[in-house]
Amino acid sequence: MSSAAPDAPLDQAAVLAALRARMARLEGSGRARGEAGPVPVCERLPLPDGGLARSALHEVLATAPGCGAAFCALLLARTGGTVLWIASGRDELLAWPPGLARCGLAPANLILVRAGRWPDALWAMEEALRCPAVTGAVLALAWDTNRQAGDSRLDLTATRRLQLAAEAGGALGLLLRPNTADPAPTAAVTRWRIGPLPTAEAGAGLDEPRWQLELLRVRGGTPGGPWAVTWRAAEGRLDLERGETASAARASRGASA
């Protein structure tokens, strides 16, 4: 890097950071549009950039529909702009704006798209990610039917196209799909698994649901988890639970070492 003075003593951390930044620029992933940085997930999670990179595709495997949709909604809400919710297939489950608004996703920012056929859904997602005016888009695979079919169609080629589109447009791309035991590899930058955790007491789960988050894959980082997190809707915050902090910190040290 030209900004790093060549005669200064070699600072390993600084050199590494500079190289990483250069790699990211070359790959195009995480290219910030304007001053918008990565989308924060949770303060103490050991992510390479401290959050989810924009201009990239991320994959969310959900063991239950509700928690997956809520997680995607709160990530989209944190992109701070117009987002598209693309539902593929003839799904019985509809994204419901009153509940999404509770996750911070205001109706004014939300555009719902319904694509009956899979190629249309992929095309819509690609167009949305390529558009500079869109800050985030989620492609929600049908939950009830054709779980296996959706899986096989979401292959490396399709996700690579989506990843390239996200790099061109700068939007945060999310793939929300039902959890499977051994998902096929995709070109997504990160892969998460989310599932519900039982709440401590009756009623506490209404506004503060507990989830189990797992980072299965991350490009340029170390997978981690599972972590138990609590979504505090009133404050709009995702909290890592107390007992998990130590292990997360350990994982974070391991990642940086």
């Binding site: 549009r33 304007g34 239950a64 529909p65 509700g66 928690c67 949709a69 809520a70 909604a73 117009t82 799904d91 019985e92 489950l93 509809l94 994204a95 419901w96 704006p97 009153p98 509940g99 999404l100 608004a101 509770r102 996750c103 205001a106 109706p107 004014a108 939300l110 555009i111 719902l112 798209v113 319904r114 694509a115 009956g116 249309d120 095309w123 819509a124 167009e127 949305a128 558009c131 500079p132 005016a133 869109v134 599932g195 519900p196 955790l197 039982p198 709440t199 007491e201 009756a202 009623g203 789960g205 209404l206 506004d207 649901p209 507990r210 979504w231 809707a233 009133a234």
Partner: protein, 516 residues
């Protein structure tokens, strides 16, 4: 078409020019076009039942020359011409074919109208010079119709009814100057010129009135008393004394550009190239006029006289060729070139004023101001809406779950959220149709303790509720019943939104939503 405004010539009668086309054998020509294997040397006719008789309705040229005529009994006709080909008459199909031909005739003028049952009327004022004069335009139209297998005669005159009468009554396809309508109409026979009913024609013939001239010589008042005002109206129309309006098949577009092709094009690449050129011209014209298009149609004239149309709509007025190009790209596959397109037209059907400043080329990565972003978003929504259901949601102040959101146009502004709309504890996903469940509760009004969902029994860790919702009696259907909603957590941690509905003795449980 009905429902559209009549277009009266705005200025004097003398300044307008009308081309009338008469298609004497439309019904049979249409059948031959649809069934190309029919032997061309045998006469063809259509028939229909008239009471208990079966009579000929339309005959082609060959049948007419051997003495067959419409109205003849079918048995007689078959005795005269044993090889006669027969098809049942289809008046609706004929009307449809005439409509299609009127659309085709829009290649000459935007003001093309049908003249049922077997004619077309074109207002060619100011259009003739494009093809080298009225004579050349008439010849071009007749040639193209003949090539498409449709016999036609035509005439050009200064009044619509006069040209129609000339086309029907004379065989030489005349072009007459304006102002002498009465003189050219005078020698025409009454039947084809005024299109009177056979009964009235017979009555007139009994009085020795056979030509237009004979009627003109008569005093008008007795004629009106004897035959009604309609006869005089038709007479005045044919002699150019009374203006008649034509009713174009489609409203004339705000702007249109056309491209004639020397060689018919078949390939997608060719169509794309022509479209590009047309779009560039149209957008330049829109810019010059300070307009943006909301609806644009591409019309393609096929060699065999079929017109195909592909239309797009945009949410915001636009005149950006690349954007329109992409919208068309989704639709062009619907065109069926067949033997090729010989002419393509791009019409801006609906336009809106558009300030020069709001036109922004979608600079990739260049401009980042809000106007450019809004335009990029509008263009994205246009593209998506060509294929898919795209909508925004309007929050509705209601407590009934199905009524809390309303679909909005994607370009519309979203109203503010009403108070209490995004209440805590609402599901993020709602089932399109609530799914029936079985639940076990200790007492009928108690929260459930066990749920049977898809054949699996789930023990509940807790259930919270009920949240009792009454239907909106001021608008709801009478069969809606009150619902008691519970938020439940299964032993696995999955949180669901279930409700109990129906009377207490026959309560049903439904799974309606998924909580975070």
């Amino acid at each position: 078409m009905t429902g559209q405004p009549c277009l009266l010539p705005a200025d004097g009668l003398g300044s307008r020019r009308f081309l009338a086309l008469h298609l004497p054998c439309l019904a049979t020509d249409r059948i031959r076009r649809a069934e190309p294997d029919l032997p061309t040397d045998q006469p063809l006719a259509t028939w229909a039942a008239s009471g208990s008789r079966r009579v000929l309705v339309a005959v082609d040229q060959a049948a007419a020359t051997i003495g067959l005529r419409p109205g003849q009994a079918l048995a007689d006709a078959q005795a005269i011409a044993p090889g006669l080909l027969l098809r049942p008459a289809d008046p609706d199909g004929d009307a449809q074919a005439l409509q299609t031909l009127a659309l085709w005739a829009r290649r000459y003028t935007p003001l093309a109208a049908t003249d049922p049952p077997d004619g077309l009327l074109l207002d060619i004022t100011g259009c003739a010079h494009l093809l080298g004069g009225e004579q050349a335009l008439l010849r071009d139209a007749l040639t193209r119709l003949r090539r498409a297998g449709i016999a036609a005669r035509g005439a050009v005159a200064g009044a619509a009814a006069t040209s129609a009468a000339l086309a029907r009554a004379r065989l030489d396809n005349p072009v007459v100057v304006s102002g002498i309508e009465a003189a050219v109409a005078a020698p025409l026979p009454l039947g084809p010129a005024l299109r009177l009913s056979p009964a009235m024609l017979a009555d007139l013939a009994r009085l020795g009135l056979r030509r237009v001239r004979d009627l003109l010589d008569q005093p008008r008042a007795p004629l009106a008393r004897r035959f009604g005002q309609e006869l005089l109206d038709r007479l005045d129309a044919v002699t150019g004394q009374r203006r008649t309006a034509i009713r174009p098949v489609t409203e004339p577009p705000d702007l249109s550009v056309a491209q004639d092709l020397l060689e018919p094009i078949i390939t997608r690449a060719g169509i794309d190239a022509v479209l590009d050129r047309l779009l560039a011209t149209l957008c330049a014209r829109l810019r010059a006029a300070g307009l943006g298009a909301r609806r644009i149609a591409l019309l393609a004239w096929r060699v065999d006289g079929v017109v195909q149309e592909v239309a797009i709509g945009t949410g915001q007025p636009t005149r950006e060729p690349t954007h329109l190009r992409r919208l068309f790209a989704e639709r062009l596959e619907r065109l069926e070139p067949g033997l090729g397109f010989e002419r393509m037209t791009l019409e801006a059907r609906a336009t809106e004023p558009m300030a020069a400043g709001t036109q922004a080329g979608l600079g990739i990565g260049g401009r980042s101001d809000t106007a450019a972003m809004a335009e990029a978003l509008a263009q994205l929504l246009d593209r998506l809406a060509q294929r898919l259901r795209v909508h925004r949601v309007a929050p509705v102040a209601s407590h009934w779950p199905e009524r809390m959101v309303a679909a909005l146009d994607p370009h519309a502004a979203v109203p503010a959220m009403p108070a209490g709309w995004a209440a805590p504890g609402l599901p993020v996903l709602l089932r399109r149709r609530p799914e029936p469940l079985k639940a076990t509760a200790l007492l009928p009004d108690d929260p459930p303790s066990l749920l049977h969902w898809r054949g699996v029994a789930h023990r509940l860790r807790w259930a919270e509720g009920p949240l009792r919702l009454e239907p909106e009696w001021w608008r709801a259907h009478p069969d809606l019943q009150r619902r008691d909603y519970y938020r439940v957590e299964l032993a696995s941690g999955v949180r669901l939104w279930v409700c109990r509905t129906g009377p207490p003795e026959a309560a049903r449980w439904l799974l309606h939503g998924h909580l975070p």
